[in-house]
């Protein structure tokens, strides 16, 4: 009851913004507690922590990375549909730099010698990482230029790269699936330091994003541009540059997600990497309480929890035996519930019911 009332209380908007994703996460974990035996079991093997909870965290890392960038873009009043495609491009760049010979002309060479060599990389791994991230940022800048200087609707502007991106990724690798044997690169997505290494990356990204937005003026400017770009303009805020930054940063986050994803599956597959992840990322942001379409106030923490909610739901569905192909239906239900929870009408209704219940209680 009191939880209900706090969700629907307008004066506590700030808390209620986080209370929806937290409530959602709690509901799913409660579901697992009841229906999935051993869901909360944790054990340490070879100094690594294992368990369903760790799996959820680990599998959610690409979505969390995307959701962080997507939060800023949505806060400026836009949306980025191309993050999945950017992931494919960045992943292709990483793979081609690690092993370009596959695509090269001398396919017959000494391929057998490199297959399975866990130390081989054509360029040093740090350069691979920097180059893939740089390419992802360039992709983000492209979106940003279209949106801020071209004044193109964000959905249309990013649709261009969403469609073209996978084609570009195929061109880079000449449509070949490159298998990666390099172990130090694979550590990004598969490594463990007690916890999965990718978790540390995402935590660092989150902390970086938080500092960048909340310990500088960028967060305020992003919100201000999202709420009223004209008022921002009149206040001397360079709204074009802010939007450019948001899309570029979103591209960067897609690059991080790409590195995690491609290093964990060890294959560049331009048709599969990051497929439909833009939708997960947008859903995570919306669950987290940042308003799609209107922009304005954003919550990085909300988006983070939103991404966990999605992953937890997915893992739980697998755990109780729902087919992978049916997961989208479950997500659709989730979208409906989230949208209803945030809708003004439903909130008003909830407040009225809560009020009536309170009055009845007082009368009794």
């Amino acid at each position: 009851m009191s939880a209900l009332r706090s969700v629907f209380s307008r004066s506590r908007l700030r808390e209620s913004r986080l209370s929806v994703p937290i409530l959602a996460l709690a509901v799913i974990l409660l579901f697992d507690f009841v229906f999935v035996p051993g869901f909360f079991n944790l054990e340490i093997r070879d100094g690594h922590l294992f368990g369903s909870l760790v799996d959820i965290l680990r599998n959610s890392t690409p979505t969390v990375a995307l959701a962080i960038g997507m939060t800023l873009v949505i806060a400026t009043g836009g949306v980025d549909l191309s993050v999945g495609a950017i992931m494919a491009i960045a992943a292709s760049v990483a793979c081609i730099l690690i092993d370009p010979r596959i695509v090269g002309l001398n396919l017959q060479g000494d391929i057998t010698a490199v297959v399975g060599d866990p130390t081989y990389s054509f360029v040093p791994i740090p350069i691979v990482i920097v180059a893939s991230l740089a390419v992802a940022v360039v992709c983000g800048l492209w979106n940003g230029v279209l949106v801020s200087f071209g004044r193109i609707q964000p959905m249309v502007a990013t649709l261009i790269l969403m469609i073209a991106g996978r084609g570009i990724a195929q061109l880079i690798t000449n449509s070949i699936k490159i298998i990666i044997f390099n172990d130090s690169f694979a550590f990004i997505g598969n490594g463990f330091i007690v916890l999965p290494f990718s978790l540390f990356i995402v935590v660092a990204l989150f902390a970086g994003a938080w500092l960048l937005t909340r310990r500088t003026a960028i967060g305020l400017f992003v919100e201000s541009v999202g709420i009223s770009f004209r008022a921002s303009l009149y206040s001397g805020i360079n709204e074009k540059r802010i939007k450019l930054f948001a899309y570029a940063f979103c591209g960067f986050c897609a690059g991080v997600a790409a590195l995690i994803a491609v290093s964990s599956i060890r294959t560049s597959d331009a048709n599969q990497i990051g497929l439909y992840t833009e939708l997960d990322a947008i859903l995570a942001v919306v669950i987290g309480g940042t308003v799609l379409g209107a922009g304005g106030r954003f919550s990085l923490l909300g988006s983070l929890i939103g991404a966990l909610v999605i992953q937890a739901t997915q893992t739980s569905m697998y755990a109780i035996g729902v087919a992978a192909s049916a997961i989208t239906a479950v997500k659709a239900v989730m979208v409906i519930v989230v949208i209803l929870l945030y809708s003004q009408q439903v909130q008003d209704l909830g407040r009225r019911i809560a009020g009536r219940l309170a009055r009845r209680q007082a009368a009794a």
């Binding site: 004066s11 003026a217 709420i227 009149y234 206040s235 001397g236």
Partner: protein, 506 residues
């Protein structure tokens, strides 16, 4: 005139509170058929809330509403309409890209053989407007007509859809010219003659006296009283609205004379033939330190365009602008802020406030913008600045963390002023700073302008109210048809300015 038998609406002892605010305390309002009833009060007096209760936007916490003798509970704006209570808001809520006829009859188009009978629709629309003595081409897009016509179309629509018994006009005249206002008043009187009760909310006291029969005064969410307009002296009205007597106007005049002694001799800003093709004809303008220059002229005469050029929203296509003897090259808001120029824009809602951000964030925005992305004002600094200006300008807000959307119009305007004062500007351009603001706050802002001038700041003061321009400005520039027409300095004859505005002498 106010025969109780003809009372259409009786609102009695209405209470309404929002989190932290008691917006209405035991307020009553009676509207009789065939009267124009003015509702006045300062910002935050509860006018908007009372209207919202009457039109079903908000539900009262207590009290009763009686319509034609029967108690009603108004559930929604739609319900209010079906009861015969129609509202026309300050901003016209119609579709500018549809034709006038479509706007009037959308949702109840005459049909013929399963599709819209356009001829009948246009004919009906013409008839409806003729009923209000308006002769226009109803097949043209609504947006191609003046705001006044659009507003009257909104009134016509309100009458069409609900066969209204009660018409609520919320600040309908705030963006109208004098002639347009007259046109609106004619329509209002005609409707009054037909027995409709009209509730007229306005900040213009002249208009209260010109058109209303009775006036209800609110203050701080409580009813002060209901008076016959004709027998209520204006000074008494102001005193009742403010709850204190007003000698400020005299103070301001005195203040102006004193401050004029501090005007510098060196020009701060000088415009030579600055113009923008399609926006404003080339103009010359000189501004000294400590000087207040008023821009007078009708709506659309080029006042705002001049302000936007000087602030760098637009870039001039010709001429040169110098500040401190240096030629201005960076025409952008941020360039202006760095030069020490500030602009309070005309359209407070769209260009001024950032509604969802807090008072504090709104106040520090421009200052932070001038510091760039990375020289971040710490939260404690932000609070210090915000609290300073909340106190200095007596901004009525529960705290600096209140979203600015929750403030009344006058206080929002003060927040914008605070935003610019925080950047410590040397030239402050105020475009309609007192539009839609109550008398008390108006006087506050006028006084503030003169105090700033005394500190050596320059000011360009733009207002549709000539009286206000005259009261605050050392020099008056007259605009007409997007060009600077002439300039008046010293003791200014109001009639000469009126002639210049109207184009009587060229």
């Amino acid at each position: 005139m106010t025969d109780p038998a003809r009372d259409i609406v009786v609102m009695e002892s209405i209470d309404k509170s929002f989190p932290g605010v008691q917006a209405l305390k035991q307020v009553s309002l009676t509207l009789a058929g065939g009267e124009i009833h003015a509702l006045v009060g300062e910002n935050g007096a509860g006018k908007s809330t009372l209207i919202k209760v009457l039109t079903g936007v908000e539900r009262p916490d207590g009290g009763t509403i009686t319509l034609d003798g029967a108690e009603v509970s108004i559930r929604s704006p739609l319900h209010a309409q079906s009861l015969g209570i129609s509202t026309v808001y300050q901003e016209v809520n119609l579709c500018p890209n549809l034709t006038v006829a479509e706007n009037l009859l959308i949702g109840r188009q005459p049909m013929k053989l399963g599709h819209v009978d356009w001829n009948a629709m246009n004919r009906q629309a013409r008839e409806i407007l003729q009923g209000l003595d308006i002769e226009i081409d109803v097949t043209r897009p609504l947006g191609s007509y003046s705001i006044a016509i659009q507003q009257m179309a909104a009134i016509a629509r309100a009458l069409v859809i609900s066969s209204a018994k009660v018409l609520v006009l919320d600040e309908p005249t705030s963006s109208l010219t004098g002639h347009e206002t007259d046109q609106l008043f004619r329509v209002m009187r005609k409707l009054k003659g037909e027995g409709i009760a009209i509730l007229f909310i306005t900040h213009f006291l002249d208009q209260v006296y010109e058109v209303s029969d009775r006036v209800t005064i609110l203050r701080n969410g409580a009813l002060v009283g209901v008076y016959e307009t004709a027998v209520l002296p204006r000074l008494t009205l102001i005193t009742l609205m403010l709850g204190r007597s007003l000698t400020e106007l005299d103070d301001i005049n005195q203040h102006k004379i004193e401050s004029s002694q501090h005007i510098g001799t060196e020009p701060l800003l000088q415009a030579d033939g600055v113009g923008l093709v399609g926006s404003i004809a080339p103009f010359d303008l000189v501004l000294h330190t400590g000087e207040v220059v008023g821009l007078a002229g009708l709506l659309g005469s080029g006042r705002t365009e001049m302000a936007q050029l000087l602030f760098g929203i637009d870039q001039p296509t010709e001429g040169s602008l110098t500040m401190d003897g240096k030629r201005v090259r960076n025409f952008s808001p941020i360039g202006s802020i760095e030069r020490g120029v500030a602009l309070c824009p005309e359209d407070r809602k769209a260009e001024g406030i950032v509604a969802d951000l807090t008072v504090r964030e709104n106040i520090i925005m421009a200052m932070q913008a001038s510091r760039g992305w990375f020289r971040h004002l710490s939260t404690s600094d932000q609070y210090a600045i915000a609290d300073k200006y909340i106190k200095l300008l007596s901004i009525a807000t529960p705290s600096a963390d209140q979203p600015v959307r929750n403030l009344s119009g006058g206080n929002q305007q003060k927040v914008i002023l605070a935003r610019w004062l925080a950047t410590n500007p040397r030239l402050l351009i105020l475009d309609e700073p007192t539009r839609g603001i109550d008398v008390g706050t108006k006087a506050d802002i006028q006084k503030l302008v003169l105090s700033l001038a005394e500190e050596g700041k320059s000011c360009i003061f733009i207002s549709s109210e000539l009286e206000e321009v005259l009261r605050t400005s050392h020099r008056v520039v007259v605009m007409r048809d997007r060009a600077k027409v002439t300039e008046f300095a010293g003791e200014v004859d109001e009639r000469a300015i009126m002639n210049a505005i109207a184009g009587g002498e060229a």
